[in-house]
């Protein structure tokens, strides 16, 4: 408002303020000086930028990012005040319990609930017939129901549910429900899933693949397929078996459903992906989405196991509707194992070829995945088992056949490192073996075969930043690798493993990426000066609330306690895809930064109005906005805010993020596409007791490229936690099915998660490659850090005892058996006399070292040079780097269907292609 058009009417008397200035409470009047060491060189500060500048550099205020920050919600948790799924208490609530199938596979002839309904204290009983709508996390494979329709598909499958005044009554009611089953032939072995069955576990109509239990099959061939076999001088071949693993989170699933007096449903649930639940509820309950509020409670660990919409969530809502009262269902631990969605039990055939130049001229992977009874995320898993090992190495050929079958087990699904973990382990162990055959150091070998920054993988993924080289170099130094690898005594070993993971899936599951954003964040800044952030990103303990708060605090130059996150309810949070595929930091922070930039602009404009300094010359420090040219010219944040709020009150802004268009166009090209990728390299040191076969991990040096550590404390926490989790899968964790097909260990005593005693000493090493598109350069740290620990331990075990074991977990009995076998082969009586492997470098060693040095220079140049040319996988093999290989050389192919020649002798998973989809069978099918 200028002086000319002064307001008529009530006027404040000069010098007298009838109410406090907005947000002027508190006695802290002075802001701190800008900390130059936190301002990048490119912005005039002293923070070194070895990896170049980033698009968000100009937004850096030094307020928040890069500091070791405890989680913003940690106090609630350590003080016992956080409300998890089972902490929700609603007036008049009922206890819900679920009746589960005692059979692996059976047809339900009839269900009689009359006795249960007659039991005093029982308020509602419901069965599948009341909820016929299907749902599933992926729109293409909806095959789940609230409760069994005609068939039950695994022991523990849902049959009916009961709501009663107390839990014991509910349990008693379950015993009174009479179900008449016709038991069907069950499939337990995933290999049987490939065969035609009398009655496949699901029927997909004309899309059904023969009469088999094949749920999804993938065939991919990229690169010089015949050439890779011809030019190989070393070939690794292995057949792996990976047992299934469960997430083993602390909090069992728990849900509460409440139809509010206004007729709307509120569903309280510890979910990683509340939005998909929202959609599934609308389908199953047959009500519009706006009548549902999904309230995400605190989540006691998810790791992928709380990211499907679940039948029990539907049951709670159905029972609540039927009874007219709130209904709460909390799982016992065995029920957690029955809903599962853990890592797929898999049989993996891995072939790795290396040529005379020490190049990875080919990888051939065949992955058979045991999906259990439902599709869940399996469609994606089937792709991920192949495509996620097409980097970080430049490869000459990539052949992949992947098949996921239904079996009568609890469903497998997404688990930390989704789809990439097992095949990554097989690849990295294969590379170790190839290096052994070539007599070269496996770290040198890797350093000489890395893709550069700003490049394309063989299947067309867009690699932006890549810190792989630095990861390898740093763990090599930290672990004293060169002096110890292959030099330790029998039973003591060192091993290396690498990882590569998506930083957010570029393909949103439910909508077109080019039309809708992946993430949206709203900000509101009111008179108190605090900033309220509305985001749908699900805080599952990984720190998503904290990282979004950090991003906003950084841009606005505010202390973290002025930011409050509202991320719980679908009523108030803009839609977010949820916490999976390690997408939250990348996508949500980018959206939050956009929203904060709008507020920032308004603050700068207001400051300019007050001080007369031009907006472009203004910077934000700690709660103060001032001129770069003369820091004395400036105002406090609150003054600027007050000015900006004149005439309009609270500031509000909205920011969104969506991935740039990318990738190729073949079928399945979108699987594995991500706006950025994380990289990691770990060295593990192990001891193997050769007399008992028991393995313990002593130390791990873990380097992870997260782009930029917005919160180093959280990144390290993720790395250490990932090591614990991954180590469990290597050493002890398995979902074990007994002779009867029953899961033998649906409890935490026998599902063997490593304890603190098993935990090695971990040295986390954060590598910052500064991603050009990530928020302040950040990528992910949630899942990628899990991948390298498996192969690092497996390779270390080899270094310790000279035996390769292609089965996980490396249970003592298994290792012992292999040691016995080897002793027999070698004619040794005492395992203590086993030879331990050594390494004598071959001449190739120098070739690799030289190439690695050249590439190191190449990589830095490409990183810092904005005008760089395209680089496509294939250049290492002599092709023109600027053109996709298959467009310049006919021997390089890109096909996604097997030809007849392949079908003459397919590999295990590849044999799924022998079936013809029903719609192509001709005749009346």
């Amino acid at each position: 408002m200028s002086d000319d058009d002064e307001m008529v009417g009530y006027k404040q008397q000069p010098g007298k303020l009838p109410f406090a200035r907005p947000g002027s409470g508190g006695s802290e009047k002075f802001s701190e000086l800008r900390d130059e060491s936190r301002i990048p060189e490119s912005q005039g500060g002293t923070l070194a930028q070895p990896q170049g500048a980033n698009r968000h550099d100009s937004l850096i205020t030094g307020a928040a990012i890069g500091r070791r920050t405890p989680m913003v919600d940690s106090r609630w948790k350590v003080m016992g005040q956080a409300k998890y799924g089972d902490d929700i208490r609603l007036p008049g609530e009922l206890f819900g319990r679920i009746l589960r199938s005692p059979h692996h596979y059976a047809r339900i002839r009839s269900i009689d609930t009359s006795a249960a309904e007659a039991l005093p204290g029982v308020v509602a009983v419901s069965t599948g017939s009341e909820a016929p709508a299907c749902f599933g996390v992926l729109p293409v494979t909806k095959d789940e129901h609230a409760m069994a329709q005609e068939k039950v598909r695994h022991v523990g499958d849902l049959v009916a549910c009961v709501a009663a005044e107390d839990e014991l009554t509910a349990l008693e009611a379950l015993r009174l429900i009479e179900v008449d089953y016709e038991v069907l032939d069950a499939v337990h072995d995933m290999r049987d899933g490939l065969k035609d069955a009398e009655e496949p576990i699901h029927d997909r109509g004309k899309y059904h693949i023969g009469d088999s239990n094949v749920q999804k099959r993938v065939f991919q061939e990229f690169g010089d397929i015949s050439g890779m076999r011809d030019s190989a001088v070393a070939t690794h071949t292995s057949d792996w078996y990976f047992a299934g693993a469960n997430h083993g989170f602390t909090e069992p699933h728990a849900v509460a459903a409440h139809w509010e007096p206004n007729g709307r449903l509120t569903l309280y649930t510890p979910q990683q992906v509340p939005h998909y639940v929202h959609r599934a509820l609308a389908d199953v309950l047959d009500i519009p989405m706006h009548q549902i509020n999904v309230y995400r409670t605190a989540v006691g660990g998810g790791f992928g196991g709380k990211s499907d919409p679940f039948p029990h969530e539907m049951c709670a809502a159905i029972l609540a509707r039927k009874s007219g009262r709130p209904v709460r269902i909390t799982f016992d631990r065995d029920e957690v194992f029955y809903v599962n969605r853990g890592r797929h039990p898999s049989r993996l055939g891995m072939v790795i070829h290396a040529d005379s130049q020490g190049r990875l001229c080919g990888m051939e992977t065949d992955a058979l995945l045991d999906g259990g009874a439902f599709a869940s995320f399996g469609h994606v898993t089937t792709y991920y088992n192949g495509v996620l090992h097409t980097a970080p190495y430049e490869i000459g050929g990539f052949h992949y056949t992947g098949t996921r079958v239904w079996t009568n087990k609890p469903a497998s699904g997404a688990m930390r490192g989704h789809g990439a973990v097992n095949s990554r382990c097989a690849v990295e162990v294969g590379i170790d073996d190839v290096c052994e055959q070539l007599s070269v150091d496996p770290i040198d070998f890797r350093l000489a075969n890395l893709l550069p920054p700003m490049s394309r993988t063989i299947t067309g993924f867009r690699i932006t930043s890549i810190g792989m080289r630095e990861c390898l170099e740093r763990v090599r130094r930290a672990s004293d690798w060169d002096d110890r690898f292959r030099k330790l005594p029998l039973g003591h070993g060192l091993g290396i493993g690498c990882g590569f993971f998506i930083s957010g899936s570029a393909l949103p599951i439910h909508w077109e990426p080019n039309k809708f954003p992946h993430a949206t964040v709203h900000l509101k800044v009111d008179m108190d000066g605090g900033v309220t952030v509305h985001t749908g990103a699900a805080e599952i303990g990984q720190g998503s609330d904290t990282v979004v708060a950090l991003a906003v605090a950084e841009v606005l130059g505010l202390p973290l306690d002025m930011i409050r996150i509202r991320s719980r309810e679908s009523d108030t949070s803009p839609v977010d895809l949820g916490s999976y595929s390690s997408r939250v930091t990348f996508m949500n922070c980018n959206a939050a930064i956009s929203a904060a930039m709008e507020i920032r602009q308004e603050l700068l404009d207001a400051t300019s109005m007050i001080t007369g300094a031009p907006t472009e010359r203004l910077v934000i420090g700690d709660r103060r906005i001032f001129s770069k040219d003369d820091p004395a010219v400036g105002v406090s944040y609150l003054e600027a805010l007050q000015k900006a709020q004149e005439d309009r009150g609270a500031l509000a802004s909205s920011g969104a993020y969506r991935t740039p268009p990318m990738g190729r166009t073949h079928k399945g090209a979108a699987a594995g596409l991500a706006p950025a990728y994380s990289f990691s390299a770990y060295v593990a040191e192990v001891k193997v007791d050769v007399e008992t076969g028991q393995t313990s991990v002593l130390k791990v040096w873990a380097a992870h490229d997260c782009g930029k550590a917005l919160n180093p404390l959280a990144v390290e926490g993720q790395m250490i936690g990932s090591i614990h989790m991954g180590m469990g899968q290597v050493l002890s964790e398995e979902m074990r099915y007994g002779r009867s097909g029953n899961l033998l260990n649906a409890d935490l005593l026998d599902y063997k998660i490593p304890t603190v005693h098993e935990m090695p000493e971990v040295t986390p090493i954060i590598v910052e490659s500064n991603d050009p598109e990530g928020p302040f350069g950040a990528k992910e740290a949630g899942e990628g850090p899990l991948l390298p620990i498996l192969p690092a331990i497996c390779n270390a075990v080899y270094d310790a005892i000279g035996i390769r074991i292609h089965e996980l977990p490396l249970a003592p009995a298994l290792v012992h058996r292999e040691i016995e076998k080897r002793c027999k082969e070698l004619g040794i009586d005492d395992p203590l006399d086993l030879p331990s492997p050594d390494l004598e470098h071959s001449p190739l060693h120098h070739v690799l070292r030289e190439r690695a040095d050249e590439h190191s220079v190449r990589d830095l140049e490409r990183k810092l040079d904005g005008e760089r040319d395209q680089y496509h996988n294939g250049a290492l093999f002599g092709l023109d780097a600027t053109i996709p290989a298959d467009e310049q050389d006919d021997s390089w192919t890109a096909v996604v269907l097997p030809d007849e020649q392949y079908l003459e002798s397919p590999r295990l998973a590849g044999s799924a292609w022998l079936h013809v989809e029903r719609r192509h069978q001709g005749g009346d099918a």
């Binding site: 523990g156 065995d334 007399e691 008992t692 009867s740 029953n742 304890t755 603190v756 003592p812 009995a813």
Partner: protein, 331 residues
């Protein structure tokens, strides 16, 4: 997970415990003793053979005595693991049991009387229904044993408690009390080779304490435990050895006991005696280890496969006896 309801009795003395037990027996009411509850309650939660009455020993003051040769049934395992006055072998052994938290509740009596375990049995009710039950908790169906089929009589569930092996190696005596009076017997005679009855305790009878021979302090020993994780996991095999060295540094006494391999712990006295007579250091260690391995017959109902557990018996025995590799026989 909810336990079936039961009535809890909390006597404050041995006498009143016996009175309650006697009364319940007169009324034909089934009951269980409960000490720390770390074994009983998980089983109750799984609805495994729960009883309508439970008598807690928590307040029975006479049972908590801990002296070098007298160990009350209610002595907590953690107390044993950290006590200065108890035999080092017992200290070592109890320190390997479960975890600190469980040891703070778990008692010596409960450990000795630990229910046998089997992966067809230690499961929830729905789970057991899905395999049509088994003898040990057949819910009135007359079901077969799932480990050794076509015999619905003998349960071969595994006794997976640690302490018994070391107590056997130290030649402990167990003392029992019942409304009809008390009795004492060598610990080796306490156990019965049946996964259901487990031991000689009669209805209403309980363990009051254990005693060690007066010369216990002259005996040294070692306990070796096979398990997957360093904490929590029940033993998959356990070997305790105790020996006495005479003034000349020669072997004057030797006992070896095994646990977690069968439905009872076992004292291998004949094997040990035989070996001791012509004790020849390493050689004897090795042959005794082989003999003990041959003497045990694990079955497939715990986490590790039985063939592996059996093989490990030799390694564990060797390691337990390692201090005797350079010792000679006493004449």
């Amino acid at each position: 997970m909810r336990m079936p309801p039961f009535e809890l009795h909390l006597p404050e003395s041995l006498d009143s415990a016996m009175t309650i037990a006697g009364e319940l027996a007169d009324e034909d009411c089934d009951f269980d003793w409960i000490a720390g509850g770390t074994d009983l309650l998980p089983n109750y939660k799984w609805h495994l053979n729960s009883k309508p009455h439970v008598i807690s020993l928590a307040k029975v003051s006479e049972l908590s005595t801990l002296e070098p040769t007298h160990i009350g049934a209610m002595v907590r395992l953690q107390a044993l693991a950290t006590s200065d006055s108890c035999h080092p072998l017992l200290r070592q052994t109890s320190g390997t049991i479960a975890s600190v938290m469980i040891r703070r509740s778990g008692t010596v009596g409960g450990n000795i009387c630990l229910d046998t375990r089997c992966f067809w049995f230690n499961q929830g009710e729905e789970w057991r229904r899905s395999i049509d039950w088994c003898i040990k908790c057949d819910c009135g169906t007359g079901a077969d044993c799932r480990v050794i089929s076509h015999q619905n009589e003998l349960c071969v569930a595994t006794y997976q408690a640690d302490l018994a092996a070391s107590l056997l190696a130290l030649d402990a005596t167990i003392h029992l009390a019942s409304p009809d009076g008390s009795r004492s017997l060598p610990l080796a005679e306490f156990f019965q080779e049946d996964g259901i009855t487990r031991n000689v305790l009669k209805d209403g009878e309980m363990v009051t304490h254990l005693t060690l021979p007066d010369d216990a302090e002259d005996w040294q020993g070692d306990y070796q435990k096979l398990r997957l994780r360093e904490s929590w996991d029940f033993p998959e095999a356990g070997i305790a050895a105790a020996w006495k060295i005479d003034g000349d540094g020669n072997l004057d006494g030797l006992r070896v006991a095994s646990t977690a391999l069968e439905s009872i712990p076992r004292l291998h006295q004949e094997l040990a005696d035989e070996a001791r007579e012509g004790w020849a250091g390493v050689e004897s260690v090795n042959s005794l280890a082989v003999a003990v391995q041959k003497a045990v017959k694990p079955v497939n109902n715990t986490w590790f496969p039985p063939s592996y557990r059996k093989k490990m018996v030799r390694v564990l025995t060797r390691r337990a006896l390692a201090p005797l590799e350079r010792v000679e026989a006493a004449n």
